[in-house]
Symmetry: C2
Subunit: 128 residues, 2 copies
DNA sequence: GTGATAATGATAATGATTATCATTCTGACT
DNA sequence: AGTCAGAATGATAATCATTATCATTATCAC
């Protein structure tokens, strides 16, 4: 029932073009630059639909949702509280421990979100 | 410079009275019940101030912030996507791995947020 | 090619949170 | 006690991401 329309294809193309973590406004802006402007409500709906179909990944930050390409292996995120930059990491041992925790609590795990906050190496330098 | 005023003391008392994870509205409602009604803006500021002073803990969920007592040992949260219930868990091995990840990325870690989403044991039963 | 179903886009509405601003409180110091 | 500066308060407006509404248009199955 979910359709992959021209607009959603355009959104998907934008997101697949880079490793960025996009928010809705950034996607809308990129689409305008691209001469395929799409209404902001449609961008929101398109992002939600694409994420539901697994064609893109979503991460929920404190204030907003961001979306990224889905054709990467699973990872979590390091977020610099200074510059806002988002790095990715992968630590399967953590996932295993999460599954253990869930089973200890008779909890059927559906997903997780792990964010590490701190100062990235670039901002550490510039601080002084 | 941050002051622990009567209003903030009242907010703190409400939160310390239970193991709940409170949002601002719930705190405001409890204060009204308590015959110490406080303006909603003041509740928000009070919660932020108390969290900054370490007198309460805050957790950032998708849509809103929630606050809980600070006099417990560190833990993370299991969130039932059906009933919204929040359980707590403690797994120091995960924290250690997080520190390891951070150091691998030359990242000075300041904090983290780990949420596990799924179905709690109660909702599993009632679903059939 | 005709319905049924879904998508679009402009705009209004929502909901949590923050900003504004006039007023009041607090604590330190005369 | 009196004064002054810095905070806090509370009512309300503003903000910002997101969702709802609704009339219109596109899409797909038959």
């Amino acid at each position: 029932m979910q359709k992959l329309t021209a607009q959603r294809q355009a959104i998907l193309d934008v997101i697949n073009r880079s490793d960025k973590h996009w928010d809705a406004d950034e996607v809308a802006y990129a689409l305008k630059e691209n001469d395929t402007p799409i209404g902001i409500a449609t961008v929101y709906r398109g992002l939600a639909a694409l994420a539901e179909q697994g064609l893109i990944e979503s991460i929920q930050l404190a204030d907003k949702k961001r979306y990224e390409r889905a054709d990467k292996k699973h990872h979590d995120h390091l977020i610099c509280t200074d510059c806002g930059d988002i790095e990715e990491f992968c630590k399967p041992e953590i996932e295993k421990l999460q599954d253990l925790v869930a089973s200890e609590h008779d909890f059927t795990i559906q997903g997780h979100q792990l964010l590490l906050f701190g100062i990235c190496i670039r901002c550490k330098g510039k601080g002084i």
